[in-house]
Amino acid sequence: MDTPPPGGRPRPPLHPAAAAGARPVNQPHPMNQPHPTGSSGHTRPADLAALMQQVERGDKQAFSALYDALAPMVFGIVVKVVRDRAQSEEVAQEVMIDLWRQAARYRPEAGSVTTWASTIAHRRAVDRVRSAQAAADREQAQAAREHHTAFDEVSEEVETRLASEQVRRCLRGLTELQRQAVTLAYYGGLTYREVAQTLRTPLPTIKTRMRDGLIRLRDCMGVTT
């Protein structure tokens, strides 16, 4: 059941002691370019970190470049969780404003700018659906049945619309339960208790599968922090 993902690397322990320094730095950081916008839409991590330093000092031009680099991801994950486009736009815009507001609180040692932004975006999206859900729960006790429709839609969409081939391939490398546990939580915005309930699986099992699933994804995608 727990066969390694196709093409995946052997699974190292969760804390590779010395691997942290092995981040590829093949392109030098452009110190003399004030706004490395990367018109191709692909802004390198080092560029984003440099942009952040400028945004932190209130540089709006740098923020505009940061916006271009991050807005598609921010909007994408918010839509994935919230579904409703009008609400998603509202939430995504709040997230982008929050990136401006909190720029000085970004700590490079805790992760990349992309990770920081996606963490804030996902959190806000989840807050939005949970508060909406709480309101709905108060009004009608049928919420549970509605959840089921929502879950099915989520899984289906995850199957069919994942943009990235690598992520799709790596998700396929998970066991069914691992994949469900990760995607229902992350794309579906469910708590792990709700995930356990939905999959009719004991809580400890869900916790383990969620963790194993993430470790496998991490290794399959070659994520380093």
Binding site: L14, H15, E56, G58, K60, F63, S64, Y67, D68, A71, P72, M73, F75, G76, I77, V79, A92, Q93, E94, M96, I97, R101, Q102, A103, A104, R105, S112, T114, T115, S118, T119, A121, H122, R123, D127, R128, R130, S131, L162, A163, S164, Q166, V167, R168, A185, Y186, Y187, L190, T191, Y192, R193, P204, K207, M210, R211, L214, L217, R218, T224, T225
Partner: protein
Amino acid sequence: MNQHASDVHGLAAPYALDALDPAERAQYAAHLAACEACRQDVADFRATAARLAASVAQAAPELMKERTLAAVDHVRQLPPRVHAAAPVPLRGVLRRKALPMALAASLAAAASFAGLAAWQHQEKQQLEQRARQSEQRLDAVSGVLAAPDARTVHGRAGNGALTSVVASDLRNRAVFTATGLPAPPAGRTYQLWLDHDGTMRPAGFIRQDGTVLLDGDAAGAAAVGLTLEPAGGSPQPTTAPLLLMALPA
């Protein structure tokens, strides 16, 4: 005990996926401050989740950029967080040991709560207010720690908890920190006291391991006390102190 510890450790994945209930989330955030391995797990898992986010990226609505850029003109940027670990001129014990670990850990926890609250959307104003209070509290705590006349005493409470007090006459404030504080019995609460000329004045509460800024004037206080009181607290101590730490003049 072990069951509980492994329970907490197992929460890195749901934490990184925002899949915890608010109470568990806060609990885990506090745990993170003291667990280096967990922080690495969370960093790994968040970076992994970021790939999941990137894989569903799509063009944002056109007008959103214009609106965002217009909006930030009216949004004040938060100042950088003052790092608790930064070298600050402390006197006495603190000079050699840097910050006591527990204190630094609770500061980190408080800082992550501030950030957390700032991210919440629901009950926005209330949460923003809480974040502001958190920040103010952190500033106040940092102010005491960084005060040129800061002095530290360490103690052990009757129930085994390890405690430290950092006090500054200049700031007229004192900070109390505890680790290994057992949960109070039902209907009871830990209350802190400042001893002024033999009179114990209420100085606030501590619910669990962590750091609190004591209420009231710290300048001139002779000691800090800790008692168990009925929930809600008492105007003066009603039980024998679990701890009485004399503050050096």
